[in-house]
């Protein structure tokens, strides 16, 4: 009971912290100058239509690299947690599952490729329209998810998924490294290592699309392996 | 005028001989007085001489080891040493003994010399429990020391000197400038301490007769006992002379010395006969009460 009172007091304290913010908060009427230069540079220098993607991939490329690393660590951590030869783990017993109905199976088989293509579409023109590597990767993961849900016998091939995951991660770092090599000391993760191409087309904005595809692949495979680990067959 | 070292030694030895004989006689007289007070006929005055001769002439002795040997030697050399360091007769250069080489502090600490030696000797004696006598003696002595030190400090401050000769010099010229009258508190404290030092009646639990089975005297016999007896004799006279010099104006001639020291010693006998014997912790506590108060008063009102 005291815990409830204490937490009530603390939440009241929190509110006293938040209320002054709400009260004398003045919304922006104009873009801060950093955002202004982003908008101009985003389109002219990097040739990307979607400014948010420009910021995420090149301007604040290190953030995204870090973010991909975060996802990678989370996936590895989960894999470490659910590793088979856990010391105090009893013999993993196989849980029996009813196989799902016919309609579901065929429906999923029909839908899977469509969603897959949709995912690829999302991260392919991340620099043109909203969306990008992360959203695309999530969509791909949902494909795998659907397959898990539909037929219990579906096993993702860990060798290929692992390979894609590491390959895309490493190539992402190599692209960044190319920036350093080609463009000089300050251009780590610069997308201008490739020609900017014609504004608005798929192959424009230098390395952004390539980076975003790699990110997409990586996020997709990672989330898939996370789901697989968490689903796991050990009880 | 400086007399040569040789004459100084000779005169000091002569002084020692006089004091030694006077001591023996005084001991005899004092024991006769005590006997007469107790209604007994008492021993002949020359009895101490007889005891001494008997002890020294004994042929067989036994010894319990080196330290047993050194006990009486330490004790007697303590007595004689104390004699040598105290100026006997004020005024004549012959009877200063070797007092130039030390002051009251030397005398205070030299008393320990004899006592420590005696304690070690008894420790090595035949009777292991003789140590109980020693521990009582030491404990009592620490308590006695307090009023005695305070008295001496107040005298030293009063006369601005530590050397006995100058103190006596300051007290010459009539009774009124004896320390007795100029600094009464110090004298009272001093005399209380004198009682303790002489180990007479109220505080003689160490030398008391029934302590004999474990007291130091029973351990020693023949020559050793002779030495101890001669030391006791000399020591009592020398202590009396010391207190005479400090408190009662010193002596300008041997006669004056003998009379004064007799009466000083008589005080202890006088008090001793009347009072019962104290246990050691009572003695210690008693000495840290009234005599201590007097000592503090002496020091504060010097």
């Amino acid at each position: 009971m005291i815990k409830k009172i204490f937490s009530l007091i603390i939440i009241a304290g929190l509110l006293t912290v938040f209320i002054p913010i709400i009260l004398n908060f003045s919304f922006q009427t104009d873009l801060p100058d950093v955002a202004k230069s982003y908008v101009e540079k985003g389109s002219k220098d990097l040739g990307a239509m979607n400014i948010v993607t420009a910021i995420i991939v090149t301007f604040r490329g290190l953030d995204t690299l870090g973010e991909v690393a975060v996802l990678f660590i989370a996936a590895t951590g989960i894999a470490v947690l659910f590793r088979k030869n856990a010391i105090n783990d009893k013999r993993p017993k196989q849980i029996s599952k009813r196989d799902s109905s016919e309609i579901l199976l065929t429906g999923i088989r029909l839908l899977a490729p469509v969603i897959l293509i949709f995912g690829i579409y999302i991260f392919l023109n991340g620099h043109l329209s909203p969306g990008g590597g992360f959203q695309g990767g999530a969509v791909i993961a949902t494909v795998v998810l659907l397959l898990f849900l539909s037929d219990s016998s579906y096993k993702i091939n860990h060798k290929i998924f692992g390979f894609i995951e590491s390959f895309s991660g490493v190539s992402y770092v190599i692209i960044g490294f190319l920036g350093l090599v080609l463009m000089g000391a300050d251009n780590f993760l610069d997308n201008r290592i490739l020609p900017l191409g014609e504004f608005g087309t798929i192959l424009s904005a230098g390395a952004i699309p390539i980076i975003y595809t790699l990110v997409g692949l990586k996020v997709g495979t990672e989330l898939a392996s996370v789901l697989d680990n968490m689903k796991g067959d050990i009880e | 005028m400086e007399i040569s070292l040789l004459t100084k030694i000779l005169f000091s030895l002569l002084g020692l001989f006089i004091v030694f004989n006077y001591g023996l006689l005084q001991a005899g007289v004092m024991r006769k007085i005590v006997a007469r007070v107790a209604g007994r006929y008492g021993i002949p005055i020359y009895q101490p001489y007889i005891d001494l001769i008997k002890n020294y002439s004994k042929r067989t002795q036994i010894t319990h080891g080196v330290m047993f040997y050194l006990g009486p030697v330490f004790r007697f050399s303590g007595g004689i040493g104390l004699f040598f360091f105290i100026p006997m007769i004020y005024g004549s250069v012959y009877w200063q003994n070797f007092s130039f080489s030390g002051d009251i502090i030397l005398l205070m600490y030299f008393q320990f010399f004899g006592m420590l030696g005696m304690a070690l000797g008894a420790g090595e004696g035949g009777q292991p429990n003789s140590i109980i006598g020693i521990s009582r003696g030491l404990a009592q002595f620490t308590a006695v020391e307090v009023p005695f030190t305070l008295a001496i400090i107040s005298i030293a401050v009063q006369y601005d000197t530590l050397s006995v000769y100058d103190i006596v010099a300051a007290q010459q010229g009539g009774i009124q400038n004896w320390t007795l009258f100029t600094n009464p508190f110090a004298v009272i404290a001093g005399m209380f301490a004198f009682l303790g030092l002489m180990r007479h009646a109220p505080f003689n639990v160490v030398m008391a007769p029934q302590e004999i089975p474990i007291g130091p005297p029973t351990e020693y016999h023949s020559t050793y006992l002779g030495m101890l007896q001669s030391n006791r004799v000399v020591l009592h006279i020398v202590e009396a002379v010391l207190f005479m010099n400090l408190f009662f104006g010193g002596a300008t001639s041997w006669l004056e010395l003998i009379i004064k020291s007799f009466f000083i010693y008589f005080i202890t006998v006088f008090i001793g006969v009347v009072f019962p014997r104290y246990r050691v912790d009572h003695t210690v506590r008693w000495f840290l009460k009234i005599p201590l108060v007097f000592g503090i008063l002496a020091v504060l009102f010097v």
């Binding site: 908008v39 101009e40 995204t64 989960i78 | -």
Partner: protein, 117 residues
């Protein structure tokens, strides 16, 4: 857009309330997710400017004066990263909960007091 800011803070408060009072560990994580959604709403509402469109320079937004046509893109970039990280953390926490459940077969946080003082 003050309303959305208020909404964000309320969701944040509800999330924390959930974390503090709910005993079930999964409910605590749900509380955490709600708090995260709250923060993300606050971040977006700060970036929003009235009557402006999304920061995509497509046909609707002429290149020339895009500057005063577009909403602030930076908070959106930050939120995007924050969401992904939030999901990663939540996935990890949940797998820890599964692991813990395997050990002590209990979801209440009060049962996990092995280490104290």
């Amino acid at each position: 857009m003050n309303l959305i800011l208020i909404l964000g803070f309320m969701l944040l408060a509800i999330g924390f309330w959930g974390m503090l009072t709910q005993k079930n560990m999964i409910k605590i994580v749900i509380g955490l997710t709600i708090a995260e959604v709250g923060v993300q709403i606050i971040m977006i509402s700060i970036g929003y400017i009235k009557e402006r469109t999304a920061p995509i320079l497509d046909s609707a937004v002429p290149l020339a004066d895009a500057v005063n046509k577009v909403v602030d893109p930076i908070p959106q970039a930050l939120v995007l990263t924050a969401i992904v990280i939030g999901v990663a953390v939540n996935a990890l926490i949940l797998s820890f909960i599964i692991r813990l459940y395997k050990e002590k077969k209990s979801l209440s946080i009060d049962d996990y007091k092995e280490m104290k003082w």
